[in-house]
Amino acid sequence: MRLYWEVARRALQRQLAYRTENLAGLVTNIFFGYLRAAVLLAVYAATTNVGGYDAQAAVTYAWITQAMIMIVALWGWWDIELTIRTGDVISDLSKPFSYVGFWLAREMGRAAYFVVFRAVPVLLAGQVMFGLHWPSSPGAWLAAGVSMLLAVVVSFGWRFLLNVSAFWTTDARGLGMVANAAVMFLGGFVVPIRYFPDWLQPVVLGLPFASIIQTPADLFVERIQGSAVPALLVGQLAWAAVLLGLAQLTTLLATRRVVIQGG
């Protein structure tokens, strides 16, 4: 356990080196946050409730999802694919630790960095410009926090699978671009899933992508509260378990393949 903790800590420290990059990304995230919030706010000019959100909840939805972009690496993440292409993956696979666990720890460290240095400033900017809805009780904060953590794991599992597909195809990134478009839309980033036509919502909410964006955002703006919260978290947990299981399985298959090729 100590090992994974150190891996996560190093991943966080690595990010600390990119101060100017983070600042530039922050400016961009905030600008887009403003655009997205302005569009959603305009929706509420003539109505007070769409999809169960009032104007403030909708604006907060835009900002919290904007704050999560880097935490769940929404624009894509190809760190593992790169090691497969360069061959460095061999050294990672031959080390005496869980390969999936190693990358999960790295991703946790990276995510922790972006919580502090990206998400918090983005939310503060939203607060200054629009005035956001903040979780109203310690319980709501806890639910949103746990949900974010699970969102990172689910998103990691999904990204891991896309990355290791590079063991079998040279087109992993192209595949990833298509998959990314799906995550952004079906996860509720482009527009909340609860704005979708009523018949479509249960289908889309049943996919793993909702666990990456929609669920933590809904808990943060308290669109879902009270007795419905545990079921949502359990759903996320289930997807996290399924995807991590698949990640473990593909690692086993891929390892066999690497051995056959002789590395």
Binding site: A46, T47, V50, A182
Partner: protein, 266 residues
């Protein structure tokens, strides 16, 4: 004529290279098409819940979205290498560009022709045609010419922004991502009626970075709407002037940047 021929040859070689990876190319095409489709899907989802957005109908917003989308995607087709320009500075390969007997900007632009983004153009054209179909615009020659001029001007404006974004790299490569505020962010902004943004933002994108003239101002003219910003009516015909000013600024800025450039020496 000679530069055009050279450009065609360089780009041709580029494309042959890209086509060696057919599946990659097709997937990238599909990916860029899908992300645009979902973007407009969001507009459709919003309008399934409300009849008007800040007083604009779905077809009217679609017109803005289509106009900005076409201009942005066409500009991006030519400017893809500019959006990646920091690599030249970091790796020091810009030195090589400077010693060749052709303009530096010309060479950089010739490096990548983003045919993979053509899906985006197709999608934007479809949305605009749909908008024109749904709207009952009383087409006159004047309006047709205005639309054509606006599309060309808008493309020039976006292209100039890409050039300025690349120019930014001569001073810092680390903050490159911030230029996305004006490229991708600009397209996002100009896809909706400017009425939804607060006054300071509208003024900034009218008088400082003239994105209002990509889609909003020409669309006001086509739709016969009042300008809530209070610009005189002639302001709606200002697109080509805005494009010329931006092009001149980009040219001047780029020259300044090249002069400022100091090789990394690697």
């Amino acid at each position: 004529m000679e530069p055009t021929l050279l450009y065609a040859r360089l780009v041709g070689a580029q494309l042959r290279g890209q086509m060696q990876y057919k599946v990659s190319f097709l997937l990238a095409l599909l990916g860029s098409f899908l992300s645009c489709v979902t973007e407009f899907g969001a507009v459709l989802v919003l309008f399934s819940r409300i009849p008007l957005l800040a007083g604009w109908s779905l077809a009217e917003v679609a017109l803005l979205y289509g106009m900005s989308g076409i201009c942005f995607a066409v500009a991006e087709l030519f400017a893809a290498a500019l959006d990646n320009f920091q690599v030249h500075i970091v790796q020091g390969s810009f030195d090589r560009v400077l010693v060749r007997p052709r303009g530096a900007l010309f060479q950089v632009i010739s490096e990548d022709f983003a045919l993979r983004r053509v899906g985006r153009i197709g999608q934007a054209v479809l949305v605009m045609l749909l908008a024109v179909r749904l709207l009952s615009i009383d087409w006159t020659l004047e309006k047709g010419v205005l639309l054509a001029v606006a599309l060309v001007s808008g493309t020039v404006i976006y292209f100039a922004i890409f050039v300025l974004g690349a120019t930014f790299c001569f001073w810092t490569v680390q903050a490159k991502e911030a230029t996305h505020v004006f490229t991708y962010g600009g397209d996002g902004l100009a896809s909706y009626p400017l009425d939804i943004y607060r006054g300071s933002v509208r003024r900034f994108f009218t008088f400082v970075v003239p994105l209002a003239f990509v889609s909003y101002e020409p669309a006001l003219y086509l739709l016969g709407r009042q300008d809530p910003l209070g610009l005189p009516d002639s302001g709606r015909l200002f697109s080509p002037v805005a494009a010329l000013i931006m092009a001149a600024l980009a040219r001047y800025g780029w020259q300044l940047g090249v002069r400022h450039y100091q090789s990394t020496g690697t």
